[in-house]
């Protein structure tokens, strides 16, 4: 049965009471036996036959026959049940019919009296084990009760303090609360275990302790400082460096890589190492990069750090990037698109070309865009001294140039490229009879004939359209429309 208690001393309040002040139906603290809760959890979704079977076992001897009236009326109800073979559920009409047939009719209670004794016909049926009556209050047995107030929580904390815990931590409190709830002689009826309820009421565990008078203002301030969430907590650099050194010491034969560090860290955590070593992301964020962290920990020297081992991993040399791109331009053509480059690279990787071609993303990152990269590669291919041109172009991309200079250079490159396209169009027009417009079809035919003998090769129609917006505009400009040219310039 559910026991209901007042909080302030654990006195039994009674079966039920009403909370007159709040207006809400009173649900006081109650502690239902764990056996009952377990039985209910097992039985609640079992078949009707199973539930009936256990219910009848529960009912055995439960009918309260302390009152002679109840005992007498129960006897009558049992007689009715037995005479009808247990097939007729007790109710007013069947009972009256049965009663009229009895020789001692006048000594039997009336239907109303019988129903009144048990609180209604469903209750009569229930009393004789033939039916059950709904009891919407039954679920109160499984309820924990209303929300605890601040005062009650403070009382609980003070009671906990009386047990002289070695430290006033929530972990210690939880152990005490769980034990208290299982103890039949507990000082209070129900002890909250969750920390959430203290946080809801007081804002934090330390604040709850402070409200209960268990810690003073100074201790509260200190505790608040310790209550920084893990993601906000700043890990000391020394902790990071120590962890790196420990990881390196665990692998004396290998250079400490990020993957190796993570493996070591996971092993430490699995082995119960507390606090856990900082995560790789934390190391990188706090120290700038993995290699800077290694340098700070003294695991690599300055030379190793600067010789290509920079943030983001090993950097592919510029010259290699340019060679890769120029090879692709030669193989695919000057109009190579990013997708074409990707396919070309996949083919190279499939046949095992070394060094491996760099990814298109790496090229874009290095040049700031795919068209820029292709233009740079074409420029390199135009020159005879490829080596120096490569260096010069790459240097222009990476060294010493201000952003404005780079933008100006790019604008000039774009203009040069534009002139080249117009030259191609003009060359194609010259092959046509006078007065005949240059159609796309005618240009394509001309381009096909001159792909091999012109360098750079004539641009594709799609490039022309992209550059000038549409074909007619490109042809108009190529024809020498000065106004239009000036406007465009």
């Amino acid at each position: 049965m559910a026991h209901e208690h007042q909080f302030d001393g654990g006195a039994v309040e009674g079966e039920r009471g009403d909370d007159r002040d709040s207006g809400v139906a009173q649900v006081t603290f109650r502690v239902t036996s764990y056996v009952v809760l377990w039985l209910w959890s097992v039985l609640r979704y079992r078949s009707e036959a199973d539930r009936w079977h256990v219910l009848l076992a529960c009912w055995a001897g439960l009918v309260d026959t302390a009152s002679p009236r109840v005992a007498a009326h129960l006897q009558v109800a049992m007689r009715f049940r037995d005479d009808t073979g247990g097939q007729v559920v007790p109710s007013r009409r069947p009972y009256n019919r049965w009663r009229d047939q009895q020789p001692d009719r006048d000594e039997l209670p009336s239907a109303s009296a019988l129903a009144r004794t048990f609180g209604g016909w469903p209750a009569v049926a229930e009393a004789v084990g033939m039916n059950v009556a709904p009891d919407v209050l039954a679920r109160r047995v499984t309820q924990n009760g209303r929300r605890l107030s601040k005062t009650e929580l403070v009382t609980v904390l003070r009671l906990w303090r009386q047990s002289n815990p070695p430290e006033l931590t929530y972990r210690r409190y939880r152990v005490w609360a769980q034990a208290a709830n299982h103890d039949p002689g507990r000082p209070v009826a129900w002890v909250p275990v969750s920390r959430g309820i203290f946080i809801q009421h007081f804002g934090g565990w330390a604040d709850a302790l402070h409200a209960a008078g268990l810690i003073d203002d100074e201790q509260l301030a200190l505790a608040r400082a310790d209550q920084i969430a893990p993601h906000e907590r700043k890990i000391d650099e020394q902790v990071i460096l120590t962890a790196l050194r420990d990881a390196a010491a665990a692998h004396p034969d290998a250079r400490l890589t990020a993957a190796l560090y993570l493996t070591w860290r996971n092993r430490q955590i699995d082995a119960g190492g507390r606090p856990a070593p900082p995560h790789l992301t934390t190391v990188q964020q706090r120290m700038g990069s993995w290699h800077e962290a290694l340098l700070a920990a003294g695991l690599i020297d300055e030379a190793q750090s600067t010789a290509g081992l920079r943030k983001g991993g090993r950097r592919v040399p510029d010259r290699q990037v340019m060679r890769c791109l120029t090879t692709a331009v030669r193989a695919v053509g000057p109009d190579i698109t990013r997708r074409q480059y990707r396919r070309w690279r996949e083919r190279q990787l499939a046949v095992g070309v070394r060094p491996m071609p760099v990814s298109d993303a790496a090229i874009v990152n290095r040049f700031g865009g795919w068209p820029k990269a292709v233009d740079a590669a074409i420029e390199v291919l135009k020159t005879t001294n490829t080596q120096s041109k490569e260096d010069e172009i790459m240097a222009s991309h990476h060294e010493g140039r201000s952003r404005r200079e780079r933008e100006r250079s790019a604008a000039l490159e774009r203009a040069a490229r534009r002139e080249q396209v117009l030259d191609d169009l003009r060359a194609a027009m010259e092959t046509l009879p006078p007065g005949q417009p240059l159609t796309i079809h005618a240009y394509l035919r001309w381009r096909e004939q001159h792909l091999a003998d012109r360098w750079p090769p004539p641009v594709a129609v799609s490039s022309i359209r992209r550059r000038f917006g549409n074909w007619s505009e490109a042809v108009r400009l190529a024809r020498g429309d000065d106004d239009a040219q000036a406007a465009t310039a």
Binding site: M1, R16, L39, D50, V54, L62, G129, V132, A133
Partner: protein
């Protein structure tokens, strides 16, 4: 204590075999203290006396949902054949007329009423709980708006039938559901929404009902 034990009689509704687990638990509860037995008996009795909406729906629509699980269009004849077959195995399912009455309208013709029952079963099969298929489409008809007095009276009626205990919102809802389930005519019990519309909140309505009850008792 009576010499007639309620446990002497098998329950009228106990259909099907009792599992070994239930037998073992019955032996266990027989040795439990009276208070604990009373608590578990209350819970079990309520679960048996107040079947959930899902239980009620399954009792009505279960067989049809089984038959049309692949989207078949089950005819009345097919349903009745399956029902007779199940009856031979001791299962009791409602007749097609019951299904048509529960899911069809009086104005519908025979075919339309059966189609509605079939659609309800198919929605239950394909959409599951999201379909919110009830045990019957025969909901309470629209009735006159409730007054404040009717609301407080309903809450007080609960208290009268439960030894003066005023309900929580959930308890009131469950009680109203059961009252409507067994009523032959509209019991004039407002739902939670209607109460909230009149009083702003459930708690406020209970407060007023409590005061009215106290005033009436003071007046004698």
């Amino acid at each position: 204590m009576s010499d007639h034990s309620p446990a002497d009689h098998a329950p009228p509704a106990a259909a099907g075999p009792v599992s070994e687990l239930a037998r073992a638990l019955a032996e266990l509860v027989a040795r439990m203290p009276t208070d604990e037995r009373r608590a578990i008996a209350r819970l079990l009795a309520h679960s048996l006396a107040a079947p959930s909406r899902a239980m009620l729906r399954e009792d009505v629509l279960g067989l049809l949902a089984e038959l049309c699980r692949h989207g078949e269009k089950i005819t009345v004849q097919q349903y009745e054949a399956a029902r007779a077959e199940r009856a031979a195995h001791g299962q009791s399912w409602p007749s097609h007329a019951t299904l048509m009455r529960r899911y069809g309208r009086d104005s519908d013709d025979h075919g339309a009423r059966w189609r509605k029952a079939l659609q309800a079963a198919q929605r239950l099969v394909w959409l599951g709980a999201a379909a919110r298929v009830p045990a019957s489409y025969r909901h309470a008809p629209a009735s006159a708006a409730y007054t404040r007095g009717q609301v407080t009276l309903a809450i007080r009626r609960f208290a009268w039938s439960h030894n003066g205990v005023f309900p929580t919102q959930w308890e009131y809802e469950e009680w109203v559901r059961l009252q409507r389930l067994h009523a032959t005519e509209d019991p004039r019990l407002p739902g939670i929404e209607q109460i909230a519309k009149l009083f702003g909140s459930w708690d406020r309505a209970v407060q007023v009902a409590r005061r009215e009850e106290a005033d009436d008792q003071a007046r004698g």
